[in-house]
Each structure stands twice: as structure tokens, then as C-alpha cells.
Symmetry: C2
Subunit: 548 residues, 2 copies
């Protein structure tokens, strides 16, 4: 069996400081800090409206009267200072910048409802914003949309310590929720590198996947209820002859639909088949159908034993076989299976000074197990590692059970995004592909791009068939972009894959949906948008294809 190294943690793993202390998942440094202002000397991000062929829709602009109304709704929660607005106007990747002049910070669903009612009446566009950690520009304005931040909606409302059902406001930071439920012997059903900044409302709005997806599944299954602010003033009735007519309807209850109506689907029931599962519409709708204000979510019990193995594999074929073997031998205790290639390891070493705990390999695999019996889990994992090493699937490896060491191993995988952002301009692709062919596109692009790309890397959630394909260059280059697109999307479509496995659509991918969705589906999406947000004020320019 592989000797357990963590008891004598090699010095080379700690070579160089990993950056500022604190929430270990949080990237540090001026370029990498999520949502930070441009540091002196850092080039300013070009305005989205100047860089992309977008035209502002005929929304109203914010007036003095609007500001006065907002101040009445959210006293002390109206931000108009240009300096304070810099960061919220720029996305995490620092390639998109809006020109919003107003950011609102409501504290309750009621305030969100009143804001939206006012904006609906005045035809003002609204950009909901959580932690602003998205990868597709879904959380920053394109023009002057009012930014509606959930940052002050950060209270836990209830937690049922037997069932593990958590009810909280949408602006709770994921890492803080994790801490809260872990103190009570539960864990959050999702985990991602952005945990130190992202909000649970944003996670739900984008149907975030993440590192625990393999074990705990989709938010479509773990979210039990939502309270959403949207629009609900239109009731369509069918006359006896089947002809449609429209009536206005004053709602008495609350889901915050686009005119401020609040839709209360905030059940905390594990099972509830009383009609259409309406919350499902809003999960993954990216703030374009309604603003999520409250979330009810089912948390799994905290595992008694967590093990992480970090292994080197000699080739991608061996990565795949390791995965199959792993599933067979670890079964129900497997909670994550991630992979990264050699270039990823070089980049986290170069830019973040994190050293590999294993010998240099073409591929690395991170396996996590979570179970209720430490002895049983160690035995399962031990047998697996013995087999994997003995058969040559794995050429080197290390294992950790201690929480600190587990976090250090996870950092090698979680901080790849940060390392890439320090390597230059990054072209990012998040694809679902058949797992047997997951890495082929990386090899193909290296050949195709040659020296025009600085680095081409592949890593991601192999267990879910989700590849993060990234290409870095010294600076943005139209010819490099042309070599990448639509090639990558056509490749993906050819495999019946998804051009956005988990990152969503946002601003960046709205016009490539057709590679993964047929026209009929896109039309139904437009119909749903028109039904729930007829004025189109919720997060415009996002998620749906730009109209012809």
C-alpha cells in the first residue's frame, strides 16, 4: 500500500508562500482579487459596449426622482459614488465592464419587491448581482442597468438540525454557509473554488455545479424551495372558444416577479407534488426570470471521514481507467474525481508557488472520499491505491486525512483558474463531452494553435464529463479567437456535448446556445421570458440569444 505521506509532509509542498492567509479558496493579489478595483498600474478594462456589437435597449435612465424613490425603499442602501461602482461594474475575469451609475443594497425580499415594482413601472433595467464571481459576464451590467446587490441579504433564517434543511437569504456567502452547517454536523451540497465570495442566490440562479456534484447531484434536486421576485401581473384566461385574452390581475401574495410580485415557493419539504414545480424554472435562469431572494436547501450530513488522494497518471487512458476502477472499488464513498494536466501543475507552481506533492506526471487526479466509517473508508481506499499503483494506472501518489493537508491538496486543483488569470489573457471554455474523448480537444488545439497560444490546458470534473479548456495568450488576439471559435463549439456540437456545462450563458455565450439547443427549445425559452418578464427589465442582454 502507498505509504501515507501526510505525517511527514514534504518540504517541497510548502515551497513558497501560498499567498495571504484567510479563506484558503480566496484568490489573492491585485489581479486575482475577485471584484477588486483596478490597482494602480493595472490596465483598465474596456467598456463592454465599445468592445462588443451591442445596442442599448430603450430602457429609461435613472433620474433624481428614481434615486429619491430608491432611498425611501432602501435607506442608506443606494450607492452612486463612481469609485465604489468601479468593482461591481467589472467581471471577475476583468474583460467586461458596464457603466452602471447606481447600485442598490436591499436587506429584505420586501425591499427587493419594492425596487422591482418601481423599476417595472419606470422601465428601468436591473442587473442582479451576488458575489460577482461568474465566468460568463452574467453578473455585471452591459450598459447602465441598475445593479441590485444581494450583499446585505445575508441572514440564515432557519436550520433544522435533524433533517439538515437550511433556509437562508440569497446573499449568504457559500463559505460562510459551509461553516455554519459544518458546526452543526452537516455540509453544503455544493462546493466551488469561488466559495469565499459567491452568494447562494447566485449559485442557484446559475445552477452551479462544482466539486461535489458527483456525489450530491444538481441543485435541481437539492434545492427544496425558493422565494423569487419577478412579475406576475398578467393572467391569461382561455375563453370558451379557446381564444386567449389578457387580463390584469392584482396579486395578493408574494413572489418577487418582475413587477415586484413575490412568488412564495419557499417550501422546506423533501417531497411536494402539488402541481408544477415552479422553482425549477428559476434554478439556472441567471436572474432573467426573477430575482431569488430566499433559498431552502437540503444539506447532507457531514462525513465522519474525508480522504483525499492526489495521484500522477502516465496518460489520459490511465486517467479514464483510474476513474472506472475508482467507481467500482470506492462506490458510495466517492465524493469527487477531478483531473488536471501537466501544464496546469506548472502554472500553479509558477504563478502561485504551490508545489506538486508527487513526481512530475502528464496528468494528475484528485480523488476525494467521504464516509461514515474511517476504518472502512481507509480500507477501501487502500485497496484501490494498491491496485492502481500495482497495475501502473498510477505512477505516484499521496493521501491526506488531516483537514489542513486535505485543503492544501484541493488548492492545487481549485486555484488553477487563478493561476491561469495570471498567465495572461485567458480564453475559457467549459464543455460537457463524452468522457472517453474529454481530452482530445486539448490535444487538437495544441496542434491547431501552435506557438500562437501561450498555453493550452485541460482540467476539470472528469467524473461528470465536464472539461475546463483554457487557452492563454500574452494579450487578446482576434486571430487567435478566430482559430478557437467556432471550432471549439463545432467540435462540441459534433460530440452532442454542451458548450456550457456549468458556467452558464450570461453575456458571453448567448449567441452560441444553438450549438447545444435546438431552435424549438430557444423559442420556448423566449416565450417563458416574455411571460415572466414582458418588459425585459431583468438582466437584459443575458442568457437568451440576442434578437435579430
Amino acid at each position: 500500500m502507498l505509504p501515507r505521506r501526510p505525517l511527514a509532509w514534504p518540504a517541497w509542498l510548502l515551497r513558497g508562500a501560498p499567498g495571504a492567509a484567510g479563506s484558503w479558496g480566496r484568490p489573492v493579489g491585485p489581479l486575482a482579487r475577485r471584484g477588486c478595483c483596478s490597482a494602480p498600474g493595472t490596465p483598465e478594462v474596456p467598456l463592454t459596449r465599445e468592445r462588443y456589437p451591442v445596442r442599448r435597449l430603450p430602457f429609461s435612465t435613472v433620474s433624481k426622482q428614481d434615486l429619491a424613490a430608491f432611498e425611501r425603499i432602501v435607506p442608506g442602501g443606494v450607492v452612486t459614488d463612481p469609485e465604489a461602482l468601479q468593482a461591481p461594474n467589472v467581471d471577475w475575469l476583468r474583460t467586461l465592464r458596464g457603466c452602471s451609475k447606481v447600485l442598490l443594497r436591499p436587506r429584505t425580499s420586501e425591499e427587493v419587491s419594492h425596487i422591482l415594482r418601481h423599476c417595472h413601472e419606470r422601465n428601468l433595467a436591473v442587473n442582479p448581482q451576488g458575489g460577482n464571481t461568474g465566468m460568463v459576464g452574467g453578473s455585471v451590467p452591459v450598459f447602465d442597468e441598475i445593479i441590485l446587490s444581494t450583499a446585505r441579504m445575508n441572514r440564515v433564517l432557519s436550520f433544522h438540525s435533524v433533517s439538515g434543511i437550511l433556509v437562508c437569504q440569497a446573499g449568504c456567502v457559500l463559505e460562510e454557509l459551509s461553516r455554519y452547517v459544518e458546526e452543526r454536523d452537516f455540509i453544503m451540497p455544493l462546493d466551488l473554488g469561488a466559495k469565499g465570495s459567491c452568494h447562494i442566490g447566485g449559485n442557484v440562479a446559475t445552477n452551479a455545479g462544482g466539486l461535489r456534484f458527483l456525489r450530491y447531484g444538481s441543485l435541481h434536486g437539492t434545492v427544496l424551495g425558493l422565494e423569487v421576485v419577478s412579475w406576475g401581473s398578467c393572467l391569461v384566461q382561455r375563453s370558451p372558444r379557446g381564444v386567449l385574452s389578457r387580463l390584469s390581475w392584482a396579486h395578493v401574495v408574494a413572489q418577487v416577479l418582475a413587477d415586484g410580485t413575490v412568488l412564495d415557493c419557499l417550501t422546506s419539504l423533501r417531497k411536494d407534488n402539488t402541481g408544477y414545480d415552479l422553482k425549477q424554472l428559476f434554478i439556472g435562469s441567471e436572474g432573467t426570470l426573477g430575482i431569488i431572494t430566499t433559498v431552502s436547501i437540503l444539506c447532507p450530513p457531514k462525513p465522519r471521514a474525508v480522504n483525499v488522494a492526489f495521484l500522477g497518471c502516465p496518460g489520459f487512458a490511465e486517467v479514464l481507467q483510474t476513474f472506472s476502477t475508482c467507481k467500482g472499488m470506492l462506490g458510495e464513498i466517492l465524493s469527487a474525481f477531478e483531473f488536471m494536466d501537466a501544464v496546469c501543475m506548472q502554472l500553479v507552481g509558477r504563478h502561485l508557488h504551490l508545489a506538486s506533492p508527487v513526481q512530475e506526471s502528464p496528468f494528475y487526479v484528485l480523488i476525494e472520499t467521504s464516509g461514515s466509517n474511517a476504518g472502512h473508508d481507509a480500507e477501501k481506499l487502500g485497496h484501490f491505491l494498491e491496485h492502481a499503483l500495482g497495475s501502473g494506472l498510477v505512477t505516484d501518489g499521496t493521501m491526506a486525512t488531516d483537514q489542513r493537508k486535505v485543503k492544501m491538496l484541493w488548492a492545487l486543483r481549485e486555484r488553477i483558474t487563478e493561476a491561469l488569470s495570471r498567465d495572461g489573457y485567458v480564453y475559457k471554455y467549459d464543455l460537457s463531452l463524452p468522457v472517453e474523448r474529454l481530452y482530445d480537444i486539448v490535444t487538437d488545439l495544441r496542434a491547431r494553435l501552435g506557438p500562437h497560444a501561450k498555453h493550452v490546458v485541460g482540467y476539470g470534473h472528469l467524473g461528470d464529463g465536464n472539461l475546463h479548456l483554457n487557452v492563454t495568450a500574452e494579450a487578446f488576439s482576434p486571430s487567435l479567437l478566430a482559430a478557437l471559435e467556432p471550432h471549439v463549439y463545432e467540435w462540441t456540437a459534433g460530440q452532442q456535448g454542451s458548450v456550457s456545462a456549468e458556467h452558464g450563458v450570461g453575456f458571453r455565450k448567448r449567441d452560441v446556445l444553438g450549438y447545444s439547443k435546438p431552435p424549438g427549445a430557444l423559442q420556448l425559452m423566449q416565450q417563458l421570458k416574455a411571460l415572466l418578464d414582458p418588459k425585459g427589465i431583468l438582466n437584459p442582454y443575458k442568457t437568451l440569444p440576442s434578437q435579430a
Copy 2:
């Protein structure tokens, strides 16, 4: 540790024949046969239209020309023989009967599409029907709706033996799918007593829960894709001033929406965030928004070790503590936790001649574990049973690992529904309630109804907070009904529970949704119905509250 009895299976368990051989979940006998005709001597089921205050909506009636058209679309698949139509017009509980004169048996999505296009043009109502095993009258006509049966759409289209992703037509019987995937080392993510008859399309349309829900979760999480036939001819566009206008739109691709358009959301990807998750609308929509024709579903690996423990508990408090203890000690291997009360056991004994394998107890609990290592699982379960017995939570018990014995233990729980149907007229309630108070309503009703009820029982998916509350009587009695309703619904609403945890709404519960859904939610449901089925031809009189 509790001695393992199965090696010397007590004779008393086999006292009396359990009924006809064959698919062990399938109820037998004239009264219990699902979908059978009235046996000679069995009272005929009253027509729904005579028993309930419903008025037929002004749909067309089927003409000779319609029949000719159907015969062209589905040659040999048009059933008009009154005797053959008897069973499909009656629900499994034999309390609802429609008067449909036509049953269609398409074989492909294309045929479903053409049928629906014709019905849309002619304003003919359609009742989709799978296995006709539903508990709420959702699968039988109320008047003369055309029955569209999925019985001939029973092909497996593909199965990926590494990922476990199954793609099949909607009319595949659940038990046959189980057999198919089990031969390939996977299992279906859901299991229910009706498995011998129910169709996977119906399971998805009703968001079926079942016995494995505790472990594998909701179909909202395990269904990866759907192909659905519905209506898609209307595109709503927003003019520059925000005013809505309606345009006709000829679709080029296929999901079978209500006018025959086919919506292809049949991805087999584990993760796909390219826009709104449209399939979620149809999961649990009970055939009222579209007809599911094809399903893509993620199957879990077949566990190497399955254990079932059947235990007697002295009280409901002990049942609850057994559940908590179980979760703590069995953790990730727990795959089911069911309970039943003493009267349930008496009824399965009396009507089905199944004998209890443990001494008579006020409550019984069935625990199933599923894991990848038989030794580890036996150890976990052994420790748990030792603790449970030693602490008095459990007073008697038996355990099984052999498949045949496992099935026999499961039969005690799965055949309660059948036993109840032989006990007389059954008033059925399927509720989500806080688990600590799950049984209170049973106790309350016994006191409230006194000798007016024959039996009052409680059983169900305790692990999910789902109670099956049933009251039997010699015959239907309006005064008994008045004592039950709205009392049971008001009780449930008072606990913020669900008046339909898993059985759905169908015909029976359409007017009690208000106990679990606010008016705003019901209005949004109506709006979605109007969008996707403006003529209201899909499964009318079901799922949505009857219009004022």
C-alpha cells in the same frame, strides 16, 4: 448481535400462498389487478361525470373522419371496441370511470406528434396513459377524451455501460427497465410497488418518488433529458415599446408540444447549463403541458451488497430515534427507511396471507442498505442492530441479504396498498409532514372517526417525511368523507406540509392545491398551461384547479 434468521427462514413467514407467481410486486386477484376489467359479480365503477360535479368542456367529439385519420397515422393502433376500452377507462383504485370511445397506441414520437397535431386542429381532448397505476385519477378520462397509450412505445434506445445513462421510450415498464439495467450492473434510480405495470414516462410525468428516493433523490435530479410532444406554434415577441404581439411560427424541429411540435431536450449529458432547463417544466406536469415520448435517465451502479432489516418498534418515538441512529451509523449505505403500523401488518396478513417475520409490535421499520463492500456493510448494520436492540429502540428484528428473502421482506411493505384495497372502500391521503409529527394525524383520526371507520392506518417513507394515511370503510360514506375532509388538509396545511407528497394532483386533488400552494403559484401554473396548451386539450380536468 441479532442472529441472522434468513438461513433458517421461519415457516410462519410462508404461511399461506402469497398469490400468483410472476412479478412479485404485481397485485393479483380480480379486485386488485391493475387495469383489469370488472370481473363478473364485481360492482361496476360509477361514471366520474355522474359522481362528481364536473362539466364537459366544449371540445369536439371524435368523428368517423377522425378515426380514419388516426388509422392512417397509427395503422392497427386504433382501439374502439367497448370491451377493450373498459379497463383503460377505469383507474387502479376503481373509483373513477370515464367514457372514452377511442384509445390510440402509437409506436413512435412521430406518431404521437401527428396524433396531437390532428387533435389540436380538431379541438379534441387527449388523455395520455401509461401503466394506469396512479392514485389520483390523473391517467383516466373524465369524459370522452381520447386515450393516448404509451404501451407500444416500449423500446430501450441506448444504454451507456460506463456512465449508466439510459435512453428509452416513455412506455417502457419500470420493472423491465430494472431488469435490463441490472443485467448490466446498474439499477434504476427509482422503485415503487407499481413497478410491474407503471411506465417510465408516467413516472416522470408524475415526478414519482418511491422507495429509493431517500438514496437517489428526485427525478428532477436524475432525469437528464426528455423528448416531449406539446404545442409550440406561438412565438411572443416584444416590440420596441414593450408591447406584446403574437406571431405564428412554423417550427422546424421536434418536441411534441400540444399541436404536435416535438421539443427535443433529449440530452444525455450530466451537466448542461445552456439556458433554461426546460425539461424541468414537464417533470411532474402530469401530461398537462406535453406528452413525454422519450426519457434519458442516469442510473446508479448496482450495489454489490444489499441488506434489508425488518424490525419491530415499541412506539413511534422509538421509530424516530431508530431513524436518527440509523442515519448516523449507516450513513452513505442507507438506501431506504420505511415504516408501517400494526394494523398494516394485520391487513397484509388477513388479505394477502403474508405473515410477520417478527413478533407483533406497534410499529415496524424496514431498513435497506446498499453498498460496494459486503463486509463493511454487514459490520455497519451489525453495530447498528446491536445498538438498537440493546437500547430498546427495537424489540425484535430479522435481516436478509439473499435476494429472494429481501423481496419477501419488501413485499410486507409494498403490498399494503393492495391489502387495503381488499379491506373495503379506501380513503387515501399522501402527505408530507414534519417527521416528528408524522403519526399524530393517524392517532387523531382514530379518535375522531371512532367506529365509523373500519381501519385507520399509517405507513410510508419516513425517511422523506412522507406519510401514507389510509382509512377503510365497508363502503363509500359521505359522512365519513365529511369527517375526513377538509380536516386532513387543514391539519396538513397547519404543519406547512404537502397535501400530495408524491402521488400528484390528477383529478382528485385539483381543488385542494390551495392548502399547499399560494394563489400566486397557482396563477403562474395557469399561465404556463395557457402558454404551452392554449386550447387546453392535454389531459383536461386534471392537475390545475377547476376554473371558476
